[in-house]
Amino acid sequence: MSSYISTTPDDLREMLAAIGVGSIDELFAGIPEGVRLDGGLDLPAGLPEQDVYAHLLELARKNVSAEDEVTFLGAGMYDHYVPALIDMLMSRSEFLTPYTPYQPEISQGGLQVMFEYQTAMTELTGLPVSNASVYEGPSAVAAAGYLAKLANGKGRFVVSAGLHPHSAQTLRTLAVGYGIEVVDVPLKDGVTDPQAWAAAIDEDTSAVFFQNPNFLGAVEDAKALADAAKNSPAVVVGQYDPITLGILAPPGECGVDVAVGEGQALGNRLDFGGPSFGFFCATEAYLRRMPGRIAGETKDVDGRRGFVLTLQTREQHIRREKATSNICTSQALNALGGVVYLSWLGRQGIVELGELLLQRTHYARTTLAAVDGVSTLHDQPVVREFALDLDVDGLAGVERVVSRCCAAGYNPGYPLGRDEGGHPTGLLVALTEQRTREQVDRLAEVLAEAVAAERATATTSTEVPA
């Protein structure tokens, strides 16, 4: 079997001779006998490329992807169309295979992409500072928490219940590490309860977290939420859906200090959840507290424009235990997809796309809420995602409705009851520019049949459909 190695028997002989040993085993003589693996790994034998392909294809076919059904699944990642030129650029060896650009003279391509990405993200968020990407959305929220912790050393995080459950959970997981208490603020009428929010913020609040649009798709009044923290030490952190920022007021204009979010919607594939990228933008005040890589412009010895990784004294490889973050490998390739996507959309396109989603989402909400046994979970403004309530028996009922719809080729969305504390009979429905009116209309039919069937079954039997 090939292991992608090149050592011929002749090579081996010459190399061992040059080293001055008689066998490869001798090179491992320094490993104590007690920790050597004698029998070899208990793994299947290697396979030719064609067999690996066949195996991976077989596994792929056991999944129902967004190419196999009409999907209204969202809740953090979305079936946007990824233009073909992004695939091409992301698969170019020159972007795909280099390491982090430690040698700027031969990494100008990647560094310039980072610089352009930072420019695009600062434009989108209306904040002056962006890093070159973090892992993904929820961990970006947690990274914002760590920034706040280092910045003000306070003891509490105040978290809106509109934050994505994964973000809230991730924040909680990490906050344990540095001992910060997390305080939840409930929603009211689908948005963060303003009274409870204001009441929760105090002098010991290190950061406040909300999401816009929030997890139920509702547009939050970001400015009001930020204003409520104005007189506290709290860093205001907003998690944003970047695709909505063509029409939503940008965080930088609402008093948000740190805007983070999941970048997948910007030209990245679903990939069952990753890799994508997280974006991380902030006010000038936090420039030297940012996690991750930042590219900066400079000149070479001949005066030519060039780019370098800059402000590296923040980073782990220089600052070690005093670093602003432990992040090293980030998501450069995915961020490339992001900036190419934003350039593809362009200044007009991001607005047009936002307005299209706004209209179609309104149509979908109205159409689906008109189905018998279906109502809206809230009536706040929504941009690309909305929450319904199904008049069925709990999460199990919703799951059966979803199954029935999926059997008809339509995945109606995400059952909110799957999350702890989520509305048991809620269904989160997301749109992208790939979902047409025709598909919405058909979903309404499919959903109507499924809900009706579920309600009929519930009254006559408890059997689960196949």
Binding site: S93, E105, A120, T170
Partner: protein, 500 residues
């Protein structure tokens, strides 16, 4: 040819995107989204046509050096060949267009793949329980320390310190701080291994964990690993394996067998993810039985039925002692970097157990051969090996004599290598070695390439004997020459200024 960004290209009104037509009855947009919540001015994104967009990025891509074009012996980074098969299979719609919240019953292939990958990785590490969730090595480290914390707290213990050798990657101490611990450095002995006396002195009841890379960043396998394990476990601490150097020992020696409780893998190193110019990566962890309950959730559960195995994602109601039963929670959204799992799983399928071992053996062979070439007379005088005589998959030379004798620093040598068409090794790390040059050739390079690299080093040393200023001012043939990094940091310009 002046370098311009995409923001300096195009013209007002140009576009690549064609918006789908509005196919629903139009409602007053202000009614749907009131002015107070609205953006007033559009973001100043580029306005370019598709041909411009393609050409811009194709052109700037050519200003990158990449693994597909040349030797990339960056120490500790394991720049091994990235098979294109992996891009093909990761791009199959059944993987690439699978929504992360698709119900497990409709994502059985993905869960089976993840289950299989967990088993295979566990076998390589010699530890039974794997969690794929962490996004990169440093994320895996954080996961490792958070499960360590949960483990100790569950036993009612409060521990405050984490030991790291002075040869550790910077991520280790940075992670320690993020996990709320204090870093305590452990020294290195004359052979390049852990200073056992120092370790014994510092290992006490306050120590939560020792984080170790083995072979370490000097490319040296610590011969005292069994003793180290004994010392650490005696004080009740966990032993953490930084998997950055796992490529040296796959199928040869297993961290679990060495006594490690927790291991992280860098799928983007040992299991050949393309690095993407700085990610994506993937940093799964493996743990022993006693640590397993604290693993992040959800976990993948396999149930065997008459129709074959069924896979599920489970976060709650896990039986006592099971992986994730007392979980620390999530570390990120969804299930981790699945696209990376597809690639690394394919790699493991291609190589099999024997192939993985052969990869490690050849990585060590290549490193020792290149070391031998670079310790030939006329080279070793300027670039002696920092520690020991042989190495595992990488080795660290010291450029101190070269600096003293020839007047060129390690950085100069590195920059001059650019003119020879090579990516330089890692420089100035580990900190322990003066003017360090850390070289990791990997198993996928040919002997001819190793020879050509050694020849280039020889040529640069010879050239410096004649005229050190050549290397001092290198490179000459690159898209740009040495850049003013100090100015960049002093007055940061981190975005393109745009006209209003």
């Amino acid at each position: 040819d002046r370098v311009v960004t995409i923001f300096e290209k195009g013209a007002p009104g140009r576009r690549a995107f064609t918006c789908p037509e509005l196919d629903v009855p139009q409602v007053d947009p202000q009614q749907l989204l009131p002015a107070g919540l609205r953006r007033m001015a559009p973001p100043r994104l580029p306005e370019v046509s598709e041909p411009e967009l393609v050409r811009h990025y194709v052109r700037i891509s050519r200003r990158n050096f990449d693994l597909d074009s040349g030797f990339y012996p960056l120490g500790s980074c394991t720049m091994k060949h990235n098979p294109r098969l992996h891009e093909r299979v990761a791009g199959l719609p059944g993987h690439a267009r699978l929504h992360p919240l698709q119900h497990p019953s409709r994502s059985q292939g993905a869960l089976e793949l993840m289950y299989n990958l967990e088993r295979a990785l566990g076998e390589v590490a010699g530890l039974p329980h794997v969690c794929l969730q962490p996004s990169a090595g440093s994320h895996g480290e954080l996961a490792g320390l958070l499960v360590t914390r949960a483990y100790h707290e569950d036993r009612g213990e409060v521990r405050t310190k984490v030991l790291t050798p002075d040869t550790a990657h910077g991520t280790n101490p940075a992670t320690v701080t993020m996990a709320g611990y204090t870093v305590v450095k452990v020294g290195t002995n004359a052979d390049g291994g852990v200073d056992l006396d120092d370790l014994r002195a510092k290992a006490d009841g306050d120590v939560a964990c020792l984080m170790l890379t083995n072979p370490n960043t000097l490319g040296i396998f610590d011969p005292n690993i069994e003793e180290i394990s004994r010392i650490v476990h005696e004080v009740g601490a966990t032993l953490y394996y930084d998997g950055a150097n796992l490529n040296a020992v796959m199928g040869v020696s297993r961290p679990g067998d060495m006594g490690f409780d927790i291991v992280h893998y860098n799928l983007h190193k040992s299991f050949t993810q393309p690095h993407g110019g700085g990610g994506p990566g993937s940093g799964p962890i493996a743990v022993s039985d006693r640590i397993a309950p604290y693993l992040p959730t959800p976990v993948i559960r396999r149930t065997d039925s008459a129709d074959g195995p069924v896979f599920d994602l489970v976060a709650e109601g896990l039986p006592e002692g099971a992986p994730g039963a007392k979980s620390i929670g999530r570390l990120r959204g969804f299930q981790g970097n699945y696209g990376c799992f597809v690639r690394s799983y394919s790699y493991i399928c291609s190589l099999g157990g024997e192939g993985l071992k052969e990869a490690s053996q050849t990585a060590v062979l290549n490193a020792n051969y290149l070391l031998a070439r670079l310790q030939a007379e006329g080279v070793r005088e300027y670039l002696p090996l920092g520690f020991g005589e042989r190495c595992m998959h990488e080795f660290v030379l010291s450029g101190a004599p070269m600096k003293k004798e020839l007047g060129i620093k390690t950085l100069d040598l590195a920059k001059r290598l650019l003119d020879h068409g090579f990516h330089p090794p890692t420089v100035y790390f580990p900190l322990l070695v003066d003017e360090a040059l850390m070289i990791e050739p990997t198993e996928t390079e040919t002997k001819e390439t190793l020879d050509a690299f050694a020849d280039a080093v020889v040529a640069i040393l010879r050239e410096a004997q004649e005229d050190p200023s050549i290397a001092q001012n290198a490179p000459y043939t690159t898209p740009v020459r040495r850049l003013d990094e100090a100015a960049a940091a002093k007055q940061p310009v981190i975005r393109q200024p745009l006209p209003a």
